[in-house]
């Protein structure tokens, strides 16, 4: 694979190696969600939650790095270039993770819970991969995700009779379905106890992505090519 400074990934274009597409979907989801969750740092409802939620945000970004590294090996680039040097349209994340939900804690917890529940299904499949580097990484990631799920389930349990939380889950449900492959969606319906609906699919981006991208890449773009 040729080494390039910037790897451009036109939307919808398939790679020779379909795994690269998958790695980027996973990495982009985790990066954007990590970013969105990190927007609560310093303003979460109480201090303990601020620390815990920020930590979860940070581990999601760590998982993004690990998936980017697998993609970068195939593409002859590095994780930073994949994370920060693409145009917004080139990201493969699901619209679900792009939504800016600050300062709505009910919606934030609804997304957190739906995302972690869906992510568990995805990770279980990845752990069964024939590729040992994929299965091994999924195994490692799952150890941290266990904490994320515990945290998310605990909040969902606490808010399960709260109308604002239930309305938020209703609202975000089609987005969360769109995060998964078709074959994984039935499991999500079972775990969340909801009927399938038309999913908001990966491939299109929301209006929230560009401002997020501008913030996220601001420093990197300020000195192109710098080594940090």
């Amino acid at each position: 694979m040729q080494v390039a400074d910037t790897v451009h990934l036109p939307r919808g274009k398939a790679f020779v190696n379909p795994d690269v597409d998958l790695f980027l979907q996973l990495a982009d989801d985790e990066l954007m969600l990590g970013w969105r969750n990190s927007e609560w740092t310093g303003i979460a409802p109480f201090l303990e939650e601020d620390v815990a939620f920020s930590s979860i945000a940070q581990t999601e970004i760590g998982h993004a790095r690990a998936w980017y590294e697998l993609a970068a090996e195939e593409l002859g680039t590095d994780a930073d270039a994949l994370a920060f040097d693409r145009e917004p349209d080139e990201y493969r994340c699901s619209p679900f993770v792009e939504l800016r939900l600050v300062p709505d804690w009910a919606r934030t917890i609804a997304r957190h819970w739906l995302y972690e529940t869906a992510d568990a299904i995805r990770i279980a499949d990845l752990k069964a991969s024939d590729d040992p580097s994929v299965a091994g990484l999924a195994e490692k990631i799952d150890r941290e995700e266990t904490y994320h799920r515990m945290h998310a389930d605990m909040w969902a349990e606490r808010l399960r009779d709260e109308p604002r939380f239930l309305a938020a889950v209703d609202d975000l449900w089609p987005y969360s379905l769109g995060m998964l492959r078709d074959s994984q969606r039935e499991q999500l319906c079972e775990r969340v106890g909801r009927d399938p609906v038309d999913a908001i699919e990966r491939g299109e981006h929301t209006e929230d992505l560009r401002p997020l991208w501008e913030d996220m890449t601001m420093v990197r773009r300020s000195v192109p090519g710098a080594t940090w």
């Binding site: 109480f46 201090l47 303990e48 939650e49 620390v51 815990a52 930590s55 904490y147 515990m150 945290h151 605990m154 349990e157 606490r158």
Partner: protein, 92 residues
């Protein structure tokens, strides 16, 4: 609600106070305690104790009025007594 968190660094060691945290329930306290004291493998086990379950004694009964420091749990120093005894015996 405030919870006091005790941590055991290695199996078999005594639990030591790690700190306190505020949480709406025991489940939340457990999750936060894991995050603050557990996830980097720094603890073998944790105790999560509601602060109200802790009976605090502010002015412990003090009865150290006679010279009975041999009864102290941390032992006592022989050095001074030995020196005095040697002087009395003329062997100092």
């Amino acid at each position: 609600m405030i919870y006091e968190i005790f941590r055991q660094e290695r199996e078999g060691q005594p639990f030591q106070h790690g700190g306190s945290l505020e949480a709406p329930s025991l489940a939340f306290a457990g999750a936060y305690a894991r995050e603050f004291y557990g996830r980097r493998d720094e603890s073998f086990a944790l105790w999560i104790v509601p602060r109200e379950a802790v009976e605090e004694i502010r002015e412990p009964y003090v009865a150290d009025v006679f010279d009975r420091d041999y009864r102290r749990v941390d032992g006592y120093s022989l050095k001074v007594k030995l020196k005095e005894a040697r002087e009395r015996a003329g062997t100092a």
